[in-house]
């Protein structure tokens, strides 16, 4: 034990041995999209940040699709400082969008309660989004647009649509950064066009473009 002060009439910082510290990291991003033309399996790379072995718990909830659409372990073990892949497999081959939330965290170890002491324990959880599905091929018929003080885009299709939005001036100069968009069925993105914006061009991963006039709807 690094140090322990209890029972004194002074503020005390309790330092628990590293064996009681369970910390986990996710190494390869928090969102994983598997297009329907690609592999059904994927990996979430995990790292134990501590010296001692930890138990990693994995909770998942399929938000779009059926529970059995995603196969993923509910628990794995990691040795001290070990890096290891948490493998998952999509058990579906249709064209529809599928989405699962996956929460990974180390099994918590609670410290002992002490008199007259508030002990604050930190747990770290990672919330990941896993997606599978075909890309939308007809966005011009599945994207609806509303204009108020913002541009509100709604995806009404059944697949996944990925695009970049770029605002332009009336003479065709891009203004402001591109805005990445990722749509699931029913998803809404709100874009706040910059001043002097005349139109917005949406270009998707398949190279399809949609132009949306904006000038008459400026603030």
């Amino acid at each position: 034990m690094k140090g322990l002060l209890v029972g004194g009439l002074h503020a005390a910082l309790l330092l628990f041995p590293s064996a009681l510290i369970a910390q986990l990291s996710v190494l390869n991003g928090l969102s994983h999209y598997h297009p329907c033309s690609g592999a059904l399996s994927g990996e979430i790379w995990l790292q134990n940040e501590g010296d001692s072995a930890i138990t990693v718990l994995v909770d998942h909830e399929v938000r779009l699709g059926k529970t059995e659409d995603l196969l993923i372990p509910s628990e794995i073990q990691l040795r001290g400082h070990e890096r290891r892949a948490l493998n998952f497999t999509w058990n579906t081959k249709d064209t529809f969008a599928h989405h699962a939330l996956v929460e990974v965290y180390a099994l918590p170890i609670l410290p002992v309660k002490h008199e007259s002491t508030w002990t604050v324990v930190t747990e770290i959880h990672f919330l990941l989004n896993l997606y599978r599905g075909c890309l939308e091929e007809s966005p011009s018929t599945t994207i609806t647009v509303q204009r108020d003080s913002n541009l509100i885009c709604t995806y009404t299709g059944t697949r996944i649509w990925k695009a970049l939005a770029q605002p332009y001036t009336s003479i065709g100069h891009p203004i402001g950064p591109t805005i990445p968009l990722f749509f699931l069925p029913g998803k809404i993105h709100t874009i706040n066009p910059p001043h002097q914006c005349a139109y917005i061009l949406l270009e998707d991963d398949l190279g399809q473009t949609i132009g949306i006039p904006w000038r008459n709807h400026a603030h």
């Binding site: 002074h10 005390a12 510290i21 369970a22 190494l27 928090l30 990445p180």
Partner: protein, 146 residues
């Protein structure tokens, strides 16, 4: 990648605040000194929707008695787009909030004193304390896409 460390850059996920009795009758309990942890992280943004990350904090175990507040104040230090930190105060029914938003590609360093400094403070008034004012509070930090 992310870890919580103490001032020496050693992994640490526990802080204890010892309630100090006054030395003379009639005095109030002295304030408890604040304590620090550091959130060290490396983040490389991906394609949307993994282009922005955030850190939410929630009390998931134990509870703060009425009249006692806990504040976590972040101070972000490092290189890149570390995000925007907002102090959180927990009390009564307020048990969750977003601590850091808009993390993109950045790193904080991994040495002593590197990272997002998290200052934990417990604030109370003596008249609100009782014999049961001790216990374990579990804070869940959740890292997700914004």
């Amino acid at each position: 990648m992310l870890r919580v460390v103490d001032a020496t850059a050693g992994p640490s996920n526990t802080l204890s605040f010892h309630v100090q009795a006054p030395s003379l009758a009639g005095q109030p309990f002295a304030p408890i000194p604040s304590q620090n942890l550091y959130l060290q992280y490396t983040s490389v943004k991906g394609a949307s929707p993994d282009n922005l990350r955030q850190v939410d904090v929630e009390i998931v175990g134990g509870s703060l008695p009425s009249g006692i507040e806990m504040t976590i104040a972040p101070s972000l230090n490092g290189t890149g787009t570390l995000g925007n930190g907002t102090p959180l105060t927990f009390s009564g029914s307020t048990v969750s909030g977003t601590l850091i938003t808009d993390i993109q590609s950045a790193y904080t360093g991994d040495g002593a004193g590197d990272g997002a400094l998290l200052t934990y403070s417990l604030n109370y008034a003596t008249q609100n304390l009782d014999a049961a004012t001790s216990g374990i509070i579990t804070l869940r930090y959740t890292i997700s896409n914004s």
